[in-house]
């Protein structure tokens, strides 16, 4: 099949492309979902196709096809070149790619037990056991549990001579209990909202205590129906790791995507307050805040050997000791921040979509101490756990999150459960208020598997490592205040 990629490259070059790359993908996916004791989805999906990206007169063209024949590949390349030529008619400055040596490699993410070889019955038995654990608690209205396995094998060829065969496999799942009464809909999820995933095989599934935690999760969902409403006002807020992961994603990851910063996402997701003048000059957070981008993170969802431009995986600081240091970049845009090499952040979600800058794994580095140490150090605050909703403005300043559950903390102890907790802030003020980050023992590689970006939209996945952390004087209670 890689002959088709080679054929497409040759055809694109013959038709006038100054640069071309071709990605031939073979993707398999398995989704299992159980809802209230019944199978709600049992689906296997396969997708194969070819994507050809070209530069013609310094302008981009991209075409993708699932007609995997010689004629189909040649036609796809011809279409990409014709599109590139049309792009060149509305071009201010020709694209200039940062140099990158050609790479030849074969790489696979680690996997001890291929989840696609594990019998469906075993997977369904696990979900049905979780379901029984959730619905064994009186008051649970909806129990949902799911597993997802994805394998992407990609052959990347470029007109500069790269030939990279890369296979990335991920496994994961999650569950939730929903309790409904009157005007209240309360939910608890495990291990986090939207599922917990890693680039590992079935052995990852076996490492998580899915069944054992189900009764606790269900009991908390029901207890929330009777819990006190989270108060409105200014409080010290302690965020559990998975909620902090989404905070990192929205308020650090997206605003450091260089295409956003330069206005290329302006019509859809917006731009960024982290304009080029902020690099090296902005105190983004307190000295406790160290944020590291890392495409080499073990088991991370954005861990790879090479990105979709053939650039090797890297690790670098985005924020060091609170100071803003760097962006997520591509070969096209690296020069705009004075770099002579891309940071390797370009990915596509399939053969059918063009690669673009996507977040790699981005983590808050651990500090010191356990969650108990942090709670014990807090005189009066609110500890919030597990994301329920999120929103942030088009420059990534004003955010508002809701978590599933919270507890009021007084003199170092959790004194009562609170429902409907929300908090809102302005990104740099918020990160500058961080005065405690827990240590390695509380640090986990949390998942995001539903990151949307681009036009047409693409979905990407990445890992955000985080331990619980405290933020001083945060506005709490939006959406539920009496006004």
């Amino acid at each position: 099949m890689s002959d088709l990629a080679r054929l497409a490259l040759d055809e694109a070059t013959r038709r006038g492309a100054g640069y071309a790359d071709a990605r031939l993908l073979d993707q398999n996916r398995e989704d299992l979902l159980v809802k209230n004791g019944q199978v709600a989805s049992l689906e296997q999906t396969e997708s194969r196709g070819l994507g050809v990206r070209v530069l013609v007169n310094g302008a981009w063209g991209y075409a993708a096809t699932d007609e995997l024949t010689k004629d189909g590949a040649a036609a796809c390349a011809a279409r990409a070149v014709a599109i590139g030529r049309a792009s060149a008619s509305v071009l201010a400055k020709p694209v200039r790619l940062a140099p990158e040596p050609p790479q030849t490699a074969v790489w696979s993410s680690p996997c001890a037990v291929d989840p696609f070889t594990v019998p469906l019955e075993r997977k369904l038995d696990l979900l049905l056991a979780v379901d029984a654990g959730l619905r064994g608690v009186r008051g649970v209205t909806i129990a949902e549990s799911g597993l997802t396995f994805v394998r992407k094998r990609q052959r990347f060829l470029s007109s500069e001579g790269s030939d990279i065969d890369q296979t990335i496999l991920r496994s994961g799942g999650g569950y939730s209990a929903t309790a409904v009464a009157g005007n209240e809909v309360q939910r608890r999820s495990f291990p986090q909202a939207e599922g917990y995933h890693q680039t590992r095989g079935w052995e990852f599934i076996e490492s998580v205590p899915w069944v054992a935690e189900a009764p606790r999760i269900a009991e908390e969902a029901v207890a929330l129906l009777r819990a006190d409403q989270c108060p409105h006002g200014e409080f010290d807020v302690i965020l559990e790791g998975s909620q902090l992961a989404l905070q990192i994603h929205e308020s650090v990851g997206h605003p450091t995507e260089l295409d956003r910063v330069l206005g290329m996402e302006a019509n859809y997701a917006g731009t960024s307050f982290l304009t080029l003048d902020k690099k090296g000059t902005l105190r983004f957070g307190s000295p406790k805040v160290n944020l590291v981008a890392d495409a080499t993170l073990p088991d991370g969802l954005a861990t790879f050997a090479f990105d979709d431009e053939g650039v090797a995986a890297q690790r670098w600081h985005i924020v060091r000791d609170g100071m803003f240091e760097g962006y997520l970049t591509s070969r096209e845009l690296a020069h705009t921040v004075g770099d002579n090499r891309s940071r390797g952040c370009v990915r596509a979600d399939g053969w059918n979509h063009i690669p673009m800058i996507r977040m790699v794994n981005l983590s808050l580095m651990p500090g010191a101490g356990s969650l108990d140490d942090l709670l014990g150090d807090t005189d009066h605050g609110i500890y919030m756990e597990t994301n329920r909703s999120w929103s942030i403005d088009q420059l990534r300043y004003n955010f508002q999150f809701k978590t599933e559950i919270a507890w009021e903390v007084k003199r170092g102890k959790r004194i009562r459960m609170l429902k409907n907790p929300t908090y809102q802030g302005i990104t740099p003020q918020f990160w500058n208020s961080c005065d405690f980050v827990c240590g390695t023992e509380a640090w986990r590689p949390w998942s995001v598997v539903n990151c949307g970006k681009g036009q047409p939209g693409q979905v990407a996945e990445m890992t955000h490592g985080a331990a619980p952390a405290r933020f001083r004087a945060v506005k709490v209670g939006a959406g539920y205040e009496d006004d």
Binding site: Q44, D66, Q455
Partner: protein, 448 residues
Amino acid sequence: MTRAEAQAVLEQAVSRASGREIEAVLGGGTAELTRFANNEITQNVSERRYVLSIRVARGRKTGRATGNDLSREGIARLQAQADAAAALSPEIPDLLPVPAPQTYRTVDGTDPETASLGPDARAREVARAVAICRAAGVNAAGIYETGAGTIGDYGVVSPLAIANSAGLFAYHQSTDASFRISAMDGTASGWAGAESHRAGDIDGGALADRAVGKCVGSRAPASWEPGRYTVVLEPAAVADLIQDMSWISLGALAVQEGRSFLSGRIGTRVMGENVTLRDDPYHPLHRGCPFDAEGVPTRPVTIIERGMAVSPVYDRQTAAKDGVESTGHGLPVPNPIGPLATSLVLEGGEGEVEDLIAGVERGLLVTRVWYTNVVDPMTVTLTGMTRDGLFAIEGGKVTGAVRNFRFNQSIVQMLHEVEAMSRVQRIEGVVCPGLRIRSFHMSSGTEF
């Protein structure tokens, strides 16, 4: 893919049922999108993709396999995978047999010129818009998107044709064109958009003029305090809010599970008397698909009539539970979501947005909203941001720009407080008017 070509693929997919039930859904087509920013084309893409999804049922056990290899071998492989999954699946007690052959309304949603529109034509339209922005000293960013078939955003593919082993066959071809533009000047911005099944309806120049006007008017915004304001929501803002309400509230499963504001309130007043909300794929501005993911004909449904809750939309499973007929709003079976209303029509009035503005003594004009998400599902309280043009209205006139706000607002309550409506348009997939809302909660400010 023509009707005959689709039929040939699906006939093979549902063949050799031999005592099992088979349902096959084919979706896809071509989707092309020219993207521009900073007054130049920055991405320009074309996708050709067809996806076949086969579901096999053995009694009350069912499994599904989906793929894009439409060769004879590929289809046979999907059939075998779906069959193997069905054999292993536990029984689903309320799984229904596949539906019998149905009769469908004809929808003329195809435009040959749109189906064949190429990158050069899109580039010319983009160039017109860019020239207008450049002349005004602002940066243009946006998209011109055309497609034939059913490839949606985020790669989602909806049904183009359906067949099953009971002899059902359904086919619907459509085209789409949409143009969206942001005019940018630092943190000042303006936006305009249009969509139709005909590319000929798109006027990139007119949209650029509108976006530029909003951008220029957005410079030097004043800071207003958070609080409750009378607002005029332009149709793009209304569409976003109504669509979010639909996802979580207007399907029968949400109602049956008690997690919708309609739960237990059908036949009662839930909104203002001037609010009528329907789902209608046959509306001339929608021209949507006349069947759902099981091949059940989609019926227009009145969800809210003059403020009274009338009915959610149904699929076969939820309809059976309530003892009514499906309205043809089902997703692929089985699924945890239930039916969805996807061709929303909020009835409007006769005037323009300017007429709504004229009736405001002091308030805000909202061009559109961004990053909406659910804070409280039962009250449909949403949070989100104003974007691309928030303006002060004083004495019935727009008097200047205002810094953007985050809002936290119950959409059900908002629809109790509608003072006036403009005429409808289709935007963001919804047919709706602009609305003047008596009181809307802007809860916090931002930096621009």
